[in-house]
């Protein structure tokens, strides 16, 4: 039966969105560290002064990157919150569909005709609307994941350059190297989470 499948599908969709939300949370948590690291890099660059001019320029870029990332993360978090209400309304509809399908099964022909009519109506109106909502949510998520991936790619380039500049840091070389490596590792962590997110997001839509 068509509606039975719809009910099952929306159950899967719900679990998927909940999982994606959890993954987004882990990206946001990791990205939070970036800000502290950028501050630390600026502080070190100031202390190094003349002996690490190249790193000084880069540390400002790192700071700007950290701000952009933070901005991106708060948009991502908003979408996550917004998706909860979509998920909730889908959950309610899934329950209604489940009970309607049971009603259909338990009814005699006269009752079944009435239930079938309602199920057809629901397919056209309520379910169509929530499918649309879900599709919009998915598009928004795709766009955001793509934007974030691109931004983090820039962070990765910055981290590599910072490591190179750190080598010219004279007496501060070791500590500059330390902060650049931490930065690079954290970016790596975010990239890893994003890859998982992209995969899960893409998986079920294929």
């Amino acid at each position: 039966m068509d509606n039975l499948r719809t009910a099952g599908e929306s159950g899967n969709e719900l679990r998927r969105i909940v999982r994606i939300n959890e993954e987004i949370k882990s990206v946001v948590a990791t990205a939070f560290k970036i800000n502290l690291m950028a501050m630390n890099a600026i502080f070190l660059a100031k202390r190094a002064g003349q002996s690490a001019l190249g790193f000084g320029v880069l540390s400002n870029e790192l700071r700007r990157f950290a701000t952009d990332l933070q901005q991106q993360m708060s948009t991502l978090r908003e979408t996550t919150y917004g998706s909860v209400s979509t998920v909730t309304s889908l959950l309610k509809q899934a329950r209604t569909s489940r009970i309607l399908n049971r009603t259909r099964k338990e009814s005699d022909p006269a009752g079944r005709v009435i239930v079938d009519q309602l199920l057809r109506q629901r397919d056209l109106s309520t379910l169509a609307r929530s499918k649309e909502q879900l599709a919009a949510l998915n598009r928004r998520l795709s766009q955001m994941i793509a934007d974030t991936t691109q931004l983090v790619e820039l962070g990765s380039v910055l981290a590599r350059s910072a490591k190179i500049e750190a080598a010219y840091g004279g007496g501060f070389s070791a500590s500059l190297m330390q902060v650049s490596s931490d930065f690079e590792r954290t970016i790596g962590d975010i990239q890893h989470s994003l890859e998982k997110l992209t995969k899960h997001h893409g998986d079920s839509r294929a």
């Binding site: 209604t96 009970i99 309607l100 009814s107 005699d108 006269a110 009752g111 239930v115 309602l118």
Partner: protein
């Protein structure tokens, strides 16, 4: 599977009792639903929980088009009474739900919008059904603090909600009380624990004693007929209530 049984019929005025769901899972309390039809107008009394909706719907649809139910009476706010509201609204979004003013802000959690509810004041009100006037009778604190019974003066039937409810053992499937003394044992523990106010109990006994009742229909268990109605009122008036099992 529940069945719909006609318990009163006079021309276009009819009572259906939807009773006994033997396929219902043990962990859900068994409930009775009643459909009163008068000249094509139809009110469903305590439509039941969302989980038993399929059983109630299918039982009704064997003899009446469920989409024509345009009123619902909710004796109080319990989930076994009214959590199926959203499902009924799927079939007829125009349904009006009559219930104590106290629960008007609570029941929308089960479904319904701003136009769904008709609040019943504490002293009750008349509900027009077809060409008849039904009465919402105060039964507050028995057990719910905002609780009403439904009286049909034409059929002389009182729907008493949780008052008179009996939790019958499996297999005890009679539609009507056949042996009052045996039956009432299954009602005793429930009334002692669920009903909390001696004063409310006395008020109720006095109020319903003034009504001409041929049948008293509770939300759980068998229906009281004839002399058993008086027997129940007498029994209840003497019962010590508001006590925890020790």
């Amino acid at each position: 599977m529940k069945t719909a049984r006609v318990i009163f019929e006079d021309g276009a005025h009819k009572w259906l009792a939807i009773v006994r769901d033997s396929t219902r899972p043990e962990f859900i309390i068994d409930t009775n639903e009643y459909l009163v039809i008068s000249d094509g107008d139809a009110i469903l009394l305590d439509p039941g929980g969302a989980e038993i909706f399929p059983a109630v719907f299918s039982a009704i649809s064997t003899s009446f088009d469920p989409r024509r139910i345009n009123k619902i009476f909710s004796s109080h706010q319990d989930p076994d009474v009214i959590s199926s509201l959203a499902m009924w609204l799927e079939f007829n979004p125009e349904i009006k739900c009559y219930l104590s003013w106290m629960w008007q802000g609570f029941i929308p959690h089960f479904g319904g919008g701003a136009d769904t509810f008709v609040p019943i004041p504490d002293n009750g009100m008349d509900i027009v059904l077809g060409s008849q006037r039904m009465q919402a009778i105060p039964a507050h604190y028995l057990h719910s603090s905002g609780n009403l019974n439904f009286y049909d003066p034409k059929a002389k039937i009182l729907f008493s909600g949780d008052v008179g409810a009996a939790l019958l053992p499996p297999g005890d499937d009679n539609l009507f009380v056949e042996n009052f003394d045996q039956h009432i044992r299954h009602a005793e523990a429930f009334h002692r624990r669920w009903m909390g106010s001696e004063k409310a109990k006395r008020d109720w006994c006095t109020r319903v004693s003034g009504l001409d009742i041929e049948m008293m229909c509770p939300q759980h268990g068998a229906i009281y007929r004839g002399a058993d109605v008086r027997r129940f009122i007498d029994w209840f008036s003497r019962l010590d209530i508001g006590v925890l099992k020790s």
